[in-house]
Each structure stands twice: as C-alpha cells, then as structure tokens.
Symmetry: C2
Subunit: 221 residues, 2 copies
C-alpha cells in the first residue's frame, strides 16, 4: 500500500521558485523582489526608477503583488511597460507573493524583451521574507516614518535583504527619527546591508538606487 505524502509547503514553494529561476537565467533577466510595510512607497519609487532605467537602455517589467486590487498596476500604466497584476485572493488571500503566483504571472510576460523584472510584494514586513521566488536579490523599503526599531522587530526581513531603501527622506525635518540609530539597528541584524536613503517625492537618491541596480546587473553578467 502506498503511503500518502503531503509535500512540505516550503519544498513545493522552492521547487516553483527554482523553475522561475531557470526561466530568468535562460532569458538573462535580473529579478528584484521588493518588500516593505504597507504604504512605504514601493510603487512610487518604481514610478521614478523605471524611466531612468529606460534611459540607460534597461527594459523593465513589474509583477504587482496584491491581495485583491489592481491599484498599483494602474498607477504604473503611464510608464508603458509590461505589468502583470498578481492577486493572492484567488489563492486564499495570502499575505505574501508565492513562487506559484510569479510562475503564473510569467505566462503573461515576454521575457526575451525584459532585462530587469521587479516583483512588488504585498505590503507586509513579516511573511514575504520567508519565501524565495527565484529572484536575484531582495530589497526592503523602510519609510522614515516607521521608526528606528523596525529592523530589530522584523529581523528576518532585514537579514534576507541585500539593500535597504530608506524612503520618504523628504519628511525627515518633520519627524523625530534618529537616522544614525536606525542604521545601527539595521547593521546589528545584517552587518553587510547596503543602505540608500531616497525620496520618490523629491527624487533625491533615486539615481543612486538606479546605479546600484545597474551595478548588480553588471556584476552578474
């Protein structure tokens, strides 16, 4: 008699992620998994970032993770790039983008025409950090409005990411945030984290983040 085996959910997730990775490698697509709390500015940052990348000859696409709406995809429409909305509601309202969802989204993208793919994850500083989607690197966006202590309170997220974008720096004159303390807290959970302060509103720091992306892509090829 055969013994029924329920495959470990993480094993299944990683199998899909490795299939995604194989596709990305075959087409030479660099993939960035962007994560953050709700409302930290991921979409606003992409809206400022992608036109600068295009000026550098880098064709972009975005997989927009969300539980239930397509608000962020609509915001990206004016950029004229391929965007796929990936909602988790049909999958039980998951609180993170899963590798199966990315796999489903890839059917709608022509990977031959894409050099850089952003996966904008669901706004959540906990669960998305646990899952490999096949990406080249994970980036966390942390708004200055969220306080100094978040790296300590959500350590897995800050351990998993290669880069932290400190967003909304235009608001720093109006906040009590101690940026030095915030940076120390980041380094205390991830000593090799790179940090780029920026503001989608003022545009400050966006070109530094674009250069960082280009250097990561070049380092790979």
């Amino acid at each position: 008699m055969e013994i029924p085996v329920i495959r470990d959910i993480l094993e299944e997730s990683n199998a899909r992620a490795r299939e995604n990775r194989e596709l990305f490698d075959r087409h030479g697509v660099f993939v960035v998994n962007m994560m953050s709390s709700p409302g930290s500015g991921k979409t606003s940052i992409l809206m400022k970032t992608i036109p600068l990348l295009r000026q550098q000859g880098v064709s972009c696409a975005v997989i927009e993770g969300d539980i239930t709406t397509s608000i962020d995809s609509q915001r990206l429409q004016p950029l004229g790039i391929p965007v796929v909305q990936a909602n988790t509601e049909p999958f039980g309202g998951d609180c993170h983008v899963g590798s199966h969802l990315v796999q489903g989204a890839l059917k709608y993208l022509d990977l031959h025409a894409i050099k850089l793919l952003f996966i904008e994850n669901i706004g959540n500083l906990v669960c998305p950090a646990e899952f490999y989607l096949g990406e080249d690197c994970k980036v966390v966006v942390l708004s200055l409005t969220e306080g100094e202590d978040k790296p300590l309170k959500y350590p897995l997220m800050f351990r998993e990411c290669r880069l932290c974008l400190l967003s909304k720096i235009d608001l720093s004159p109006y906040l009590d945030i101690k940026i030095g303390e915030l940076q120390s807290n980041i380094y205390s959970v991830n000593g090799k984290m790179e940090i780029i302060p920026l503001s989608a509103k003022s545009g400050d720091g966006i070109s530094i983040w674009v250069d960082w992306l280009l250097s990561q892509m070049n380092r790979k090829t």
Copy 2:
C-alpha cells in the same frame, strides 16, 4: 482503530479565544485588540492614552505582541501599569498574536485589578485581522503616511474593525494625502466604521479616542 483527527487550526484558535473571553467576562475587563502596519504609532498612542484613562479612574494593562523584542514593553514602563510581553518567536515567529499567546500572557495579569486591557498586535495589516482573541473590539491604526488606498488593499482588516484611528495627522501639511478619499475608501469596505483622526505627537484627537473607549465600556455594562 481510532482515526487520528488534526483539529482545524482556526477551531483550536477560537476555542482558546472563547476561554479568554470567559475570563474577561468573569472579571469585567474590556479588551481592545489594536492592529496596524509596522510603525503606525500604536505604542505612542497608548503612551498618551493610558494616563488620560487613569485620570478617569480606568485601570489599564497591555499585552505587547511582538515577534522577538520587548522594545514596546520597555517604552510603556514609565506608565507604571502591568505590561506583559508576548513574543511569537518561541511559537515559530508567527506574524500575528494568537489566542494561545494571550492565554499565556493572562497568567501574568491580575484581572481583578484591570478594567481595560489593550492587546497591541504585531505590526501587520494582513494576518492579525483573521484571528479572534477574545477581545471586545478590534481597532485599526492607519498612519496618514500610508496613503489613501490601504483600506481597499487590506479589506479584511478594515472590515473587522469597529474603529479606525487615523494617526500622525501632525504630518498632514507635508503629505499629498487626500483625507476625503481615504475616508471614502474606508467606508466603501466598511460602511459603519468609526474614524478618529489623531496625533500622538501633538496630542490632537487623543481625548476623543479616550471618550470613545469610555463610551464603549459604558455601553457594555
């Protein structure tokens, strides 16, 4: 031969929550489950709220949910009230406070001496909304910095809560947020939501929120 039954996780969770509820009822404790994104200001709001409640003769306590630190409990220490730190890391780093965790925390509280218990949930706008802990009401804190679209993107949270505290209103002159649109979005997912704008920094709105809590407690008795 006996058939092994794995109890549904939600059934188990609700069983613990009902036990908590029974304890609260027996001691006449009103319980508020406060939820939000990371960094929306839950702890800062409690620091301003609890002294005003004490002036009204309401003795408070807090169960501080967190994945791994006791930062928020330490912040509340100067209030001189009972605080129990409830970390999910020993339970696998859960992204929400569970009813079993509340049950564990209650062993450290003298419920005879408490009229109002706050459960400060883990900063997460998704998963905490799914779980009943035995509370009287759920309250969501939404910072103005998070944008107008959050009620649409995290509808379960806004459907489950009775009150939405719009926090950090001191920052509104420096944000592009359309508060009317934000309110419409809240009402579109929950037509009976009550909304109180406030700022822990300036103190604006805190007394309205205190009055709201007192009215909820009075309505019950």
